[in-house]
Amino acid sequence: MTVKSTARARKKAAPGVPDTLRATGTDAQPELVQLLTPEGERVEHPDYPLTTTPEELRALYRDLVLVRRFDGEATALQRQGELGLWASLLGQEAAQVGSGRAMRTGDYAFPTYREHGVAWCRDVDPLNLLGMFRGVNHGGWDPNEKNFHLYTIVIGAQALHATGYAMGVSKDGADDAVIAYFGDGASSQGDVNEAFTFASVYNAPVVFFCQNNQWAISEPTTTQTKIPLYRRASGFGFPGVRVDGNDVLACLAVTRWALDHARSGNGPVLIEAFTYRMGAHTTSDDPTRYRATEETEAWKAKDPILRLRTLLEKEGLADEEFFTAIDAESERLGLRVREGVRGMPDPDPTLIFDHVYSEPHALVDEERAEYVEYAASFEAGENH
């Protein structure tokens, strides 16, 4: 509503606001931490120094390209009817790869439904991710195998799981850290704000990584907040940083810093990765209904992959052969995903009953038996 109904509501804060309150005003232009400009220029930031070898830069480039390729393949598979739905990360590759590559093996990630790039960095088989979108399971991988939790669809809920997990890390005296991913829309949920409180008072080693992709389905970020999201953290007593979410180097550096900050006992950090959802919310969505093509076009110029490629080329850190090899690998990945999905069998319906509980439950056992008997009656041709 943005309270358009009264003229009064449209006014800016009155000049008579006492000085003691100025600090909480909304005027300051937030600094966007950037290490690689959209033009492919490597720049420095005093607080987030980063040294990278050419090899590392090439590896990041490979990640970005493969993740985008995987994502594009999944979108295509959805169109072909192989998936019921797909939530594309197009445009957010740098935020995910940068933060994902900042993690150590012992660190733990709690994703939403869009963190395919983080999954990639955690070495989760991409095919695992597709099971849920195909409808053969609800994720179903072992979160503890790669320290990558199941996708969480209920907005914000995983922020608390991450915080509790991080509390456990503290209790164990371990020096692991945890990342909770969520979106700009999620910042409004009670659960996310409760997670901020718990993380702060327990000094939990958790990094809140908010990908502000400017949209929560059809709602622009202004529907969720009047001020930059990274500033939410200050209200809970921990640091917040806004990083260029299309800059894989900045995302890497800031997240690495934040994880170390957290794992060293300094408590949580909120990172707002300022990025853009280039595609539809999911394959079911039609963004033409609510946003202008110009906006999307403008963000194209900030493409996270292009700028790293420019750097690699300009600095002569990668040759034609490298790019060709990545393209080929990309093709192989696409093929593997395509074939993998097509070959994914439908589960046996008794899956319904399999894991409701870890120990026997009389009602489930009874219903399973009834179901099995009923299903058998068809096979036996007894019925109808």
């Binding site: 509503m1 409808g135 609800h138 209920v154 389905i217 709602e219």
Partner: protein, 324 residues
């Protein structure tokens, strides 16, 4: 409104009429503005009534219902959209402890004319949390009214009646039927909480609501081929339930099968079976049987057909009922 309208359009029209008829009616929800809601039930309404009447809210269900309560206290008549069934739980406290109880706590001094629209139940091949049938939670909660239409006509008129009600109404929209079409009559022909006998019969009564009414009608049609005349009653309202109509039917047929998508254990069928058994004890030739979901989280879509009651499962239950 001559001609056939989809349930989705029938609802959209009902919202439009409600906005037109009462300036205090406001719609609230996620993505209901420019997008018109993920199911387009509010399509075009923000354009026509403005951002002050069709309000895109922050992504926080407790916040939506909680502020709707505040708006109601100020004299507004909020109609809330919860985007999908599985996303109503963050608002559970505001619904069951605040909204449902406010009128009683205030000894009737304040009214709570809040309608909460929820696209619910399964059958559309969705990912998890998008196919929940949680009507039992709400129907068990005193202070809420709970209804679910099954046709375009009822969708339209029941929504208008729900919005006009001074009590909170949980309005459950059978999402997989959104695109089913039907004629919309010129007026509501039943009170909001009346059941409707949608197909008369004599051998057994099928009791259903929302998405399962169609399945039951199909089952009844199939049974007819076998010479069985099944009566189908569309409950329409789950709180209160129109037991007068149900009892009359069951006493006539002597047998009843309740069909819903929600898990059977403590689902609506439990109450219907318990109460009808009490009210029709000497008329029942068989126990009231229940066909429904299993005691399991709603499964991945590739197996949802096994979870959902279908024609075969309904007829299997009818067979069992008739075998007594």
């Amino acid at each position: 409104m001559a001609g056939q309208l989809s349930i989705a359009k029938a609802l959209n029209d009902a919202l439009r009429k409600s906005l037109e008829n009462d300036p205090k009616t406001v719609l609230m929800g996620e993505d209901i503005g420019k997008l018109g809601g993920v199911f387009r039930i509010t399509d075009g309404l923000q354009k026509d009534f403005g951002e002050g009447r069709v309000i895109d809210t922050p992504l926080a269900e407790s916040g939506i219902v909680g502020t709707a309560i505040g708006l109601a206290l100020r004299g507004y008549r909020p109609v809330v959209e919860i985007q999908f069934d599985g996303f109503v739980y963050p608002a559970f406290d505001q619904i069951v402890s605040q909204l449902a109880k406010m009128h009683a706590r205030a000894l009737g001094h304040v009214k709570m004319p809040v309608t909460i629209r929820i696209p619910y139940a399964g059958g559309i091949g969705a990912v998890e949390h998008h196919s929940e049938s949680h009507e039992a939670y709400f129907a068990h909660t005193a202070g809420l009214r709970v209804v679910s239409p099954s046709s375009a006509h009822d969708a339209h008129w029941m929504l208008r009646q729900a919005i006009a009600s001074d009590d909170p109404v949980i309005f459950l929209e059978p999402k997989r039927r959104y695109w089913d079409k039907g004629e919309i009559g010129p007026a509501a022909d039943l009170a909001l909480h009346d059941a409707r006998i949608v197909r008369p019969g004599t051998d057994a009564t099928l009791l259903a609501y929302g998405p399962m009414v169609k399945v039951c009608l199909e089952a009844a049609a199939a049974a007819e081929e076998d010479g069985r005349r099944l009566e189908v009653v569309d409950l329409r309202s789950l709180s209160p339930v129109d037991f007068t109509t149900l009892e009359e039917s069951v006493k006539r047929t002597g047998r009843a099968v309740v069909v819903h998508e929600a898990p059977v254990f403590l689902g609506m069928g439990a109450e219907l079976a318990a109460r009808l058994t009490e009210r029709c004890f000497y008329h029942l030739e068989a126990p009231v049987l229940r066909v429904g979901g299993y005691h399991a989280p709603y499964p991945p879509s590739r197996v949802e057909e096994a979870f959902l009651p279908d024609l075969d499962r309904v007829l299997d239950a009818v067979d069992r009922a008739l075998a007594y």
